[in-house]
């Protein structure tokens, strides 16, 4: 932290929020709701607290390194800590994040509301991000990453992914 003289909290937080998720095109960790806090302490420097999405998400360590690198580019050194509790939920994804997912061909998750723990054996049908149809077939509960499921739209016949509500 030699170069910077009292970094502005807002500027530091903006850098952290703008770090992109390595797996999701142009969606930031701020929009995914992963950033719990950014604190600047004269004695200890910058500490960023993130909530991991899935326990086994292989992008977690990459995200930590990306946050450290983004701050370093701006002359700040920081430590990143992961806080598991409260657990991350897709309800924390912002409206901008949902719009970006839709634009990337990924149906955003439905809202779970306060009782987020139970996942019943039934789920609502996703909307096709291309044609808006509600008619689709589930291909697999687990898509290219743990956070997505695979579907085929039975109206426009295009395959698509859905961000699973969790």
């Amino acid at each position: 932290m030699s170069a910077d003289t009292a970094p502005s909290p807002a500027a530091v937080e903006a850098i952290v929020l703008a770090v992109e998720d390595p797996e999701l095109p142009h969606v930031t960790i701020g929009e995914l709701g992963m950033v719990r806090s950014v604190t600047i302490d004269e004695a200890n420097g910058i500490e960023v607290v993130l909530t991991p999405t899935y326990t086994g998400c292989p992008a977690t360590e990459q995200i930590r390194d990306d946050v450290v690198a983004a701050l370093a580019e701006n002359g700040h050194s920081a430590t990143v800590r992961f806080a598991m509790s409260p657990p991350w939920t897709t309800d924390w994804i912002t409206e901008t994040g949902r719009r970006k997912l839709r634009e990337a061909g990924i149906t955003p998750p439905g809202h779970l509301g306060p009782s987020t723990v139970s996942v019943t054996l039934r789920q609502t049908d996703p909307t096709c991000p291309r044609c808006g149809s509600h008619e689709s077939r589930l291909v697999s509960e687990f898509g290219g990453t743990a956070c997505k499921s695979s579907h085929v739209c039975t109206t426009c016949l295009e395959p698509f992914e859905r961000f699973k509500a969790i």
């Binding site: 899935y54 086994g56 598991m84 509790s85 987020t116 697999s140 509960e141 687990f142």
Partner: protein, 251 residues
């Protein structure tokens, strides 16, 4: 002598890791590529759970051991996973039925750990219960598809169920460790877990047109105390080969 809490943490971590290792052995052999992706995603979640538990075990133990120590530097008889999760990938029906019998246990376990008096276990429980619910939904759907499918898939699902059933007793075994942790509000009541497991299993087996095996079947136990079956040494040996051949290696 390990404290009860350390033993409990390792039992949960080992259950997750050993099942993940079995799933990873099966990747590329699923009936369709989507299933390979599903099983690898489930395995990743399980490894994620194990990593958190092993890291916690290291902190709690206070001997400077990290997560890799518990995964790669212990001998097979130090792994405290129930026999069910080490059972081999005999065919796809075995893989799915094993997963289902496990997931039906994991969902209520994590959900109840979410209110544990231990804050680390409570945090993991809240998180893992949501992931486990997806695993259970996936394995349940396959059990129903296999059981209520063709004559051959039905027969294979029956064989798998009968072969794995004796291993389910161990999931609910109560020893002095469980009794002590339950009294302290750390771990859930195994009797209550059993009730939830029974309900899930009965519901899915009925939908799958499969018959619940009738006791008395001699229970297969020992895993929770480190007594494993013949193939376990090979399974763990393969998992640890790289780390043991190159101490301190990073990848």
């Amino acid at each position: 002598m390990q404290t009860p809490l350390l033993t409990f943490i390792l039992r949960q971590g080992d259950r997750s890791l050993v099942l993940a290792q079995r799933l990873l052995e099966y990747i590329t052999r699923s009936p369709e590529i989507e299933e390979d992706m599903a099983l690898s995603n489930i395995a990743l979640d399980l490894i994620g759970q194990a990593r958190i538990l092993y890291t916690y075990a290291g902190e709690f133990e206070g001997l400077g051991h990290d997560e890799d120590h518990f995964a790669f530097q212990r001998d097979p008889d130090q792994f405290l996973s129930p026999i069910l999760v080490e059972r081999p990938n005999t065919d796809f029906a075995h893989v799915i039925v094993r997963q289902f019998l496990h997931d039906a246990f994991a969902v209520p376990l994590w959900a109840r750990l979410a209110v544990s008096s231990d804050t680390t276990l409570a945090g993991l429980g809240a998180k893992a219960s949501k992931e486990a619910a997806y695993h259970l939904r996936h394995s349940s759907a396959w059990v129903i598809r296999l059981g209520d499918g063709t004559d051959e898939s039905h027969e294979r699902a029956c064989d798998a169920l009968n072969a794995l059933w004796p291993c389910t007793e161990e999931l609910f075994e109560i020893d002095e460790i469980d009794a002590e942790l339950f009294t302290a509000g750390v771990s859930p009541d195994p009797t209550a877990l059993r009730g939830e497991w029974d309900r899930t299993v009965d519901e899915v087996l009925a939908a799958a047109t499969l018959t619940r095996p009738v006791p008395p079947t001699p229970a297969v136990t020992g895993g929770l105390s480190g007594l494993h079956e013949d193939d376990f040494d090979r399974l763990i040996g393969e998992m640890q080969e790289l780390a043991r051949a190159h101490p301190g290696v990073e990848w």
